[in-house]
Structures are given as structure tokens and as C-alpha cells.
Point group: C2
């Protein structure tokens, strides 16, 4: 209690690294766009995929063995099953669960009314105002981990904030895990690209949390894509057989570029995504009943001119609202959306698209939002300024969600009307004095001065202010405390495993 | 029918001036954020203002006479009245009504499930990429009227797209009206700053539409602000006694900078705005029962550092959702929100703030959205590129609202699943061929190419693309047809009245 009270008091002085809140507890109602008839139609399509179309589980005989023994119908590598049975298996996954952070004050609850924001994942390039666009490297990665740790509006560290392309593919997961575990104390994800890398992630998490804590809690999660359409490869099933088997979380995300990996229709693509993710959810529950699971969705639209994916467009906006409702009906935590854009730079396009994408993500009730900050260029590039600009806007969404509309007696301010004449002003009223300090979200990067003051300040655009801010944050960075013995054991593990594994660059 | 069919067919070839649709008929459900208990509390506060606090009607003895004769309680210039009576008067205003355009294919229906987008109103400055920031003038005004006329995502011309500061204040309404009436055939607003100017607007509209059409239809509207808090001056009541008396529309908008013109609380400010606007609505119905009325709301948050208004922030976002619900309960068409920002330039701040402001405006069900495009610098400046960038995004909102999620059999694409293997793609499927051309909103200004193609194209940011687009549009502009006799009569009216009135610059 004492520690929580201090964290809360610290909010106004905003020390580096102190989150405004470890995650969002939503008070705003959900936005339900579909009526019962549409919901039933969508669910019927999902069930039709389970029963008639099926989903291929490829390159992992153990996965097919698990399905066969459980009673699914196997035809080659296509798995079909009774829809009611799949839904019953999914119902074994928790509606909400907590992922512990090594600093327990930063643990996040995922599912239900809770919403958690995490940064971009997987970009091979980085970009900043002075350094320009370049391949990601470990130096950039560490800076991005520090910034994510320090930013009060990011609740979760994510994992591959950029690809550290200067480290061999076969070994970079060690350095990424070590960075998250030592430079930050927020929760984070682990590797999934290969089964041994997933196992390394789980093993290193056990060093940090200890066996007993890990036996009884989710402390790390893996985030994987299905190979849409309707294909689940061994990257997915091996990650499940590592993370889920150990009681750790799995986030399973069909990435559907509508018209390519799914039909050129939002309804069909949303249903297909539900079917793919729920089929893997059922698989996780065969591997370990009760293992934490997050139903993922990543649906993008397409440019007719080039076939390139587009973001922040009306079709994915509507799909966010629809999938939110379907996930709640299925009782599964949801990952969808993010601050997504196709723009190459930090211009108005980037911001319009990111805001529309994220606004719908927020209202849809997405419980875990990867890519909530830093995404550029269709996900190919992590922007340092973009990370800080997006994260500044996340504070606004956080306030919308966690406050809604206060209708307490104090909010109605009846005493103020006794003080103020018609045409007068409330600036000095007692009610204003009592409430002004907490009345408004104070963004760090929006300039609301008049044009003269703004010009006197150097006519800086938002990107320039963001550049200054992230540099200032890094100057003020202080590593969170970590037990020396734990740090040594992590270092030892990394050194030993790096010895055992040959360098590989693919 | 034939003309409507042609307009619809033309949509894909996008001729200048052809709107995608004359207005939005919403299929997406409304987003209701307030439960019954909160709604009742807010309405009780509104009623308390009607009955106990009252609203001052100042400087217009005729307005007080009308209230007194109708039975309101008058104390000095404060009008108080039974809440049930005020609500009964408001119920005489139509839930929805049509404003005719001189081209009837562009007439807009305001209220109910319909949403209408109009550009910025009232900025003294303009800004474009080559010309920089400068006072608005008639040349800019005419260009902005042409662009609004040509843009398919703007349904309504608004009125003061910028202030033409090179024309005396006492005469500029003539030139603005003449520009809207001759350069565009979309519906527009009229002047309100002085009673004779309102009358000129109504008289010029009568020249365009004829007396009989005007007697039986809304063909022009006035948009006025109350003097919040709780003060209605003669600008408002004289406009009502001109527009409403003639059966024309009134939009009445409390502008409340929360903490200054209202208590530092969203709930109190929303209730105050409802009370002010509904009180004027009741007044319009005393002047002429059944006169079209739009309940306005313009609520902004404040920077604690400077006291400057801020936009796109969480408090006005929530207020948009709340006022939408309250307006629907009151059965009154709503104006709120817009693409609002405090940014001085067309940077990421401008776009983030505009998008969050407009996304909530869209979902809130705002029936008439002034400032939906072109707003910069807290409303002090109309941006040429901003107008075109915002309007491009309006097309996305239009699709979200008017399409929602299609769950027809065709949308579920079951035949496509027979064609496509697991891990394959839907690009060439028969379903894709049948549907791809209408599947996605195609923005004009978003670049989704890869970084190499984008660099080859000159690495242009969105603002540069917008600059090229509005210049191209102006090159392609063709005035809509207008009867010579009408144009002559308008010119004659303007010439005669300009003779009668002395130049005045305030």
C-alpha cells in the first residue's frame, strides 16, 4: 500500500520511469457496432471454418499428434473439429490474467476491462531526426528499451522494438532479453522464431523470477503470427509447446492483408482471423488447460494502385470495432490495432493514420496493444520521434478510457454558478481552484501557444520537440535496481549459450 | 432518378465537384458512453439551470418581451422558466430537416442518422505552402469556396471559410454570399454579425431560390455563438428573429473553454452548453414553431501553462460522445467537434489532434460538422493544405459511417475458400475479382508505396502532395451552371446595398 501511494503521489512530479498507471482500467463503455444478427452470422462463419474448411497445422508432427489424440478430424495436415468443442476448449483459457513484471508495481492485467499499451515490434530499420534511416542495431535497441521503460504512457516493453541487425540472428534474442531484463523493469515478451530461442526466453525469465513464481504466474509471453490463410506452421506450435506448456502467455495473431491473405471483405477476414486464432487457442488448451492466451488480430487494407498494405483506413477501423465485440463474446483477451501508418516520415499522414488506427483500437477495448507507439513505414521502421509522439497521444487515450465522464456532485460544480455572473468567467472560482490541477491531460509535445510565442520559441514542429524530449529522457535515464546475483546469472547464461550456438545470419 | 444514377456512376471517375454522396446516411450504431443514471444527472443539471440559475438575454428588449409574453420568469435580463416547458418548446423543433442546395442533388438532411461535413468558419488568417501565413482576403476566400465546392468529401460550403479582410466589415457579407451562390452549388450559411446582414443573407437566398420555395423550405442557416457562461446577446436573438422568423435554420453554439466560460469540469460544461443552446432553441420556437434548429456544442480544454485552448484532447473527446447522446435524447440535430488543432503548422501535432477530434465527432453522430476541414492554430488560420488533407481523411470517416460492417452472403466469400489453399492467396480468386474495385477507400493523399518508390517520387510529405492537389483542383475548376437572370439580380442587389451602406472596418 505504501509503495502504491508513493507511486501515485509521484505522478504529478513525473519522475523518469514512473508510469501514470501500470495499465488502464477502463471505465468507458465498449463500443458495440454489431447487432445480434450480425454477430451470429460472423460466428457461424467461424464455426464453418472450424468444421468444414479446417486449418492446416504444418511441419510439426507433434502438433498433429496432439490434435489427433484429442479427437480432431485430421486429413493430411488439415485439422477440422466440432465447433462447440473448439469453443469449449477456448473457454478454458482465462478471460483475464496478470503478467508479472520484475517490479511488481508494473505488473499488467490483460483481458476484461483492462488495456495495456506496448511499443512497435519487429522493424528492421530505425529512424531519427539526426541519424536518418538506417538498419536497427543493438545501440538503438537499448535506447528504445530505455525510452519505453521511462515513458509513463507505455505499460509494457514489448520485445523486438527494432531488429538489432548487428547481432547474428541466432544470438540476438539473448541480447534483446538481457536488455529488457536489466535496463527496464516493465513486463516484456520473449523470442519465438525458433523453439530453442523460445526456451531460452523462458529459461532466462526463470532466472529473473525464480522457479516457484514462474510455476504459478505468467511472467513472459510469446507473440506469433499464423501463416494466413488457414495455415499454422511450427513456429506457432513450437512456441505454444514451450510457452503454454510452461503456463506462460501466448499471443496468436493472424496478419491478414485483406484481399491477399483473406478474401477482399472485412467480414470474411475478421471471421477468418477469429477462426485461426481460436483454433490455436484450443491447441494451447490441449497443451495446458488454463494457459494464458491473447486472441490477436491484425487486419490491413490495400492500395489498389500498388497492392501495398494501407493503415488507418476505414476498413481496419471497422474491423477493430467488430473484433473487439467478437473477442468479448468469446471471453478471450484481445490484441489488435496500434498506431499504424504507411508513411515513411513523421508527417501529417503518419499522424492522421496512427490516430485513427489507435482511436479505434482504444475504443474497441483491445486488451494488449502492440505497435501502440513508434510504428512507421508499414512496420518496417521504428521511429525514435514517432515513438515519443505516439506515446504522448497514448496519455490522451488513457484518460478517455480510465476517466470516462465524471458525474459526481463535485463535477457538477453547482457552487461555482453562485460566484460567476452571466458573461463572466470561472477562472478564479473556488471550484476551479479546487480542481484545475487535475482537470486536463497535459500533453508534453503539443504546442498550444499563440503563433508569436511559438515563433519566439524557434517555430519547432512536433518532430523537433520529440527529438529534444527523447534525448533529454536518455540523459536522465537511470537503470532500475536489479539484484547483482540475478544480473550475474543472466550474464552467465547468455555467455554460455552464445558459446554453444554458431553464428547464423538468417 | 436518372441524374442521381449518373452522379453515382461518376463517383469512380471522380469529376470535379461531384460529391461521393450529398450527405452521410449513417449505418453504424451510435456510441453511447453514458448510462441512464448519468444521463438523468446531466439532464437534472440542465433543468436546474433553466429553473434556478437562468440565462441572461441582453441588449434586445424584443427578446425579453417575447419571453415575458410567453410566460417566462424575468428578473432584470435573466430568464428562468419551468424545465418541462422549455423541453416542450424544444420538442416543436424538427428532429431532422433538409437544407436545400440550389443544385437539389446537393441538398443535405440534417439530424437523425444523417451527418454533414462543412469546412472551417471564421479564421482571419490563411496559410499555404508557397504564400505562407497572411491575412485572409477575397482572392483566398474565392479559392476556398471553389475547393470546398469541388471536394467530394465536403457536403456543405459553410460560410466564412476565411475572413476576407480586404473588404470592409460592413460589406464583406455581400461578397461572401455572392461567392457561395455563384462559385458553388452546395448549400451554405449566411451572415449573423448584425441584424441587417442576416436580413441581406435571407434576401439574397430568396433571389436564388424564389419566394415560394423559401416559404416552404430551409435554404440558408445562421450559425451563432452564445456568450458563455449563461449569456445570450442580441447577435443571437436578432439572428433568430431574422432566420427563424423566416423558417430558416439556426445553429446555436455555446463556445466553452472549460475552466473559463464554464466550470473546470466536462460534465458541468456539457450541461451548461445544453442549457444555453436549448434555451435559445425554445426561443426560436416562440418566434416560429417548427423552425429548424441545430443544437451546437464547442467545448475545448485548456493548457495549464498558458491558459490557451487545446484541441484533440481527451476532455473534448469525451464531451463529444456525451453531447451526442444528450442531443439524441432531446431529439435535436447536433453540431459539435471538427478537425481541430492548436498547431501552427501542418505537422504531426495538427494531424493527431485533428484526427482524434474528428474521430470522436464522427462516432458521436454530429449531424452538422463545421470546421471538419482546414482548421489550424485554434481556429485563427485556414490552411489550404490542411483543408485538402482533412477532407481526404473525411472520406475515410464517411466510409466507416455509411458502410459499417457488411455481413451479406457476398461479404462472407465462401466460394473463395474453395479456390484458395492454406497459405495461398486470394488475389486472383473470383470473389476478389468481383469485389476489389469497391472494397477499399482510396485516399488521394496517403502514400503507401515502399520507401524506394517514395524517394524516387521526390520524398514528398503529405503537405507537399496536398499543395499540388489543391492547385490542380483550381486549374480544373469549372463554375456550376447558374441562371443569368439570377446572377444579374444578385449582382444588382449587392451593388445597390453596397451603395446604401458606409464602409466600416469593425
Amino acid at each position: 500500500m505504501a509503495r502504491r501511494a508513493r507511486a501515485s503521489r509521484d505522478r504529478n512530479t513525473a519522475p523518469a520511469g514512473a508510469p501514470a498507471s501500470p495499465f488502464i482500467q477502463r471505465r468507458l463503455p465498449f463500443f458495440d457496432v454489431l447487432d445480434e444478427e450480425k454477430l451470429v452470422k460472423l460466428e457461424a462463419q467461424v464455426d464453418w471454418i472450424f468444421e468444414d474448411i479446417g486449418i492446416a497445422f504444418r511441419d510439426d508432427p507433434e502438433a498433429l499428434r496432439i490434435w489427433r489424440e484429442a479427437g480432431a478430424r485430421i486429413d493430411g495436415d488439415i485439422v477440422r473439429a466440432d465447433a462447440q468443442w473448439i469453443r469449449a476448449l477456448c473457454a478454458k483459457a482465462p478471460c483475464e490474467f496478470t503478467q508479472l513484471a520484475r517490479n511488481r508495481e508494473r505488473s499488467v492485467t490483460i483481458g476484461g476491462n483492462n488495456q495495456v499499451f506496448a511499443p512497435i515490434y519487429g522493424a528492421p530499420f530505425v529512424r531519427d531526426l539526426k541519424g536518418g534511416r538506417r538498419y536497427g542495431d543493438m545501440e538503438s535497441f537499448e535506447k528504445l528499451v530505455k525510452l519505453t521503460y521511462m515513458h509513463p504512457n507505455l505499460h509494457h516493453g514489448g520485445f523486438v522494438i527494432c531488429e538489432p541487425c548487428d547481432v547474428p540472428v541466432s544470438k540476438r534474442h539473448f541480447d534483446m532479453l538481457f536488455a529488457h531484463m536489466t535496463l527496464s523493469d516493465k513486463p516484456h515478451l520473449g523470442a519465438i522464431t525458433e523453439m530453442s530461442r523460445a526456451q531460452d526466453s523462458v529459461d532466462m525469465a526463470e532466472i529473473v523470477f525464480g522457479k516457484e513464481v514462474m510455476d504459478n504466474n505468467c511472467v513472459i509471453m510469446g507473440n506469433v503470427n499464423t501463416n494466413s490463410p488457414l495455415l499454422v506452421d511450427k513456429v506457432v506450435t513450437e512456441a505454444v509447446r514451450t510457452y503454454s506448456a510452461r503456463g506462460q502467455g501466448m499471443i496468436v495473431v493472424p496478419f491478414i492483408l485483406t484481399g491477399a491473405m483473406g478474401p477482399v471483405s472485412t467480414a470474411a477476414s475478421v471471421a477468418q482471423a477469429m477462426a485461426e486464432a481460436m483454433m490455436v487457442c484450443a491447441f494451447t488448451q490441449l497443451v495446458r488447460p488454463g494457459a494464458p492466451f491473447v486472441l490477436g488480430n491484425f487486419l490491413s487494407s490495400m492500395s489498389l494502385k500498388s497492392g501495398a498494405p494501407t493503415f488507418g483506413m476505414p476498413e481496419p477501423v471497422v474491423s477493430n470495432y467488430a473484433i473487439g465485440q467478437l473477442a468479448r463474446r468469446a471471453g478471450l483477451p484481445l490484441r489488435c490495432g496500434g498506431s499504424l501508418t504507411a508513411s515513411k516520415i513523421e508527417d501529417a499522414q503518419a499522424a492522421y493514420e496512427s490516430a485513427d488506427s489507435m482511436h479505434s483500437t482504444m475504443l474497441a477495448g483491445a486488451n494488449f496493444v502492440l505497435h501502440s507507439a513508434g510504428w512507421m513505414e508499414g512496420g518496417l521502421c521504428t521511429g525514435f520521434e514517432k515513438l515519443i509522439m505516439d506515446a504522448d497521444r497514448l496519455g490522451s487515450y488513457q484518460k478517455v478510457l480510465s476517466h470516462g465522464l465524471d458525474t459526481s456532485d463535485e463535477a457538477f460544480a453547482r457552487d461555482a454558478y453562485a460566484e460567476v455572473e452571466p458573461g463572466g468567467h470561472f477562472l478564479g472560482s473556488a471550484h476551479t481552484m479546487r480542481n484545475y490541477q487535475t482537470a486536463f491531460y497535459e500533453p508534453k509535445l503539443s504546442d498550444s501557444e499563440n503563433v508569436e510565442s511559438w515563433e519566439e520559441g524557434g517555430s519547432k514542429n512536433m518532430r523537433q520537440r520529440a527529438y529534444e524530449r527523447w534525448n533529454q529522457m536518455l540523459n536522465e535515464y537511470q537503470a532500475p535496481p536489479l539484484d547483482d546475483a540475478v544480473k550475474e546469472e543472466l550474464s552467465g547464461y547468455v555467455a554460455r549459450r552464445k558459446e554453444e550456438i554458431p553464428d547464423a545470419w538468417y
